[in-house]
Symmetry: C2
Amino acid sequence: MQFMTDHDKQTEERIFEAATEVFIEKGLDGSRIQDIADRAGMNKSLLHYYYRSKDRLFDAVFEMIAMKMLKKFAPVFEGDLTLEEKIRFFFREHLSFLQKNPRLPAFLLNEVNRHPERIRKFLANINIENLWKMLYDQHKDELDQYNITREKMPQIITTMASLTVFPFAAKMLLVELFGKAGIKFDDYIEERKTFAADFMISALKNMNRSNPEDESKIKKNDNKKKK
Amino acid sequence: MQFMTDHDKQTEERIFEAATEVFIEKGLDGSRIQDIADRAGMNKSLLHYYYRSKDRLFDAVFEMIAMKMLKKFAPVFEGDLTLEEKIRFFFREHLSFLQKNPRLPAFLLNEVNRHPERIRKFLANINIENLWKMLYDQHKDELDQYNITREKMPQIITTMASLTVFPFAAKMLLVELFGKAGIKFDDYIEERKTFAADFMISALKNMNRSNPEDESKIKKNDNKKKK
DNA sequence: GTCTATAGAAGGATAGAC
DNA sequence: GTCTATCCTTCTATAGAC
């Protein structure tokens, strides 16, 4: 089994892998059964034999990809680290994962927008409120210190997702725009692992200092630091 | 002209508007000439009469949308404001624009990924390096004070875009996830106008303070501020 | 299980009447 | 300019031989 070639793989598995590639590249609407059969090196009627229809095949692929993404997301926030360590860990791990799977964000965001019915069943399992409640409770002391209230958690969580997901969702755009300036996308992502973490931590620690509505607190804080 | 109904509009314009709606909703691959004709209330052969082919019609629509987005982006950074004022202005204006055009981010990002050849000609006009050089030069004093080097500008610009674009690109996802937690997307965006600005400003002002690699610089800066 | 052949529907595009 | 009718291609899906 160690020297198993593509052709030795089970047919169903080969279909699934080819379909994954094609769907990620072209989306559901842009993909053709024939393309998938070609990439899997077989007759297209075999796809119907194993998966009944294009839609069912897509659902199988979509579920796998959604789960893959999800599994990488949540566990990052478990474990016995400080808030700052968790943030650094998240950006390093999640951006590394996306470097290996650069097309997942664009694929998922697009299909969610084009076929929202299709994704409801996957989202039913996700309780995002748990995620931010868990995070908040675990790090209440640190967050209190920075004047971050529980109500800010949705903004904070989505901000972290923005910082990692957007560059990949907009990869084609950035590659094109950066190219003219002599910047390589890969270098930019590598740099982002620490930039995003520094940025996030710095913002959290000092939001009260920069918020004009909190002038009084700022002055109080400044005094504290000076003494 | 004031009481002009849909039916009085010029045919070409009606086609263009219907096409814009359908393409934004379903993407190029998912849109059907027949859908557009139906929405415009006319025979589908008229679309060919005016636009020759589906692709040409799409190009016209795409160019209009890309320009609309672009025109809203750049001018935000002109004018004689402080860096902080510009950042606040950007988040307020850009998020307000997206509130009125919530599907543009998902549409643009998707088409850019699915049909990159098609967008090269639009991107040729954009020099993003100019944008960040301009910003950097205009606010060199403020940025120096915060130890933000010119090399950080790509990270900063893309971070600002992330914070506004991502929530709309992922709108369907967020609506679904927030719904269970009793959060309304519109409220979240409204709150984001100030949150993102506060967050950005706070991060910029204090990145050196939070970056462990810059301990020495932090102390130097603290001293400067105290005297 | 895998292939060939083909049904059957849908989509883009055009010719030609008015 | 606008409509009807129709061509041609492409796509999903199935029937049936092996």
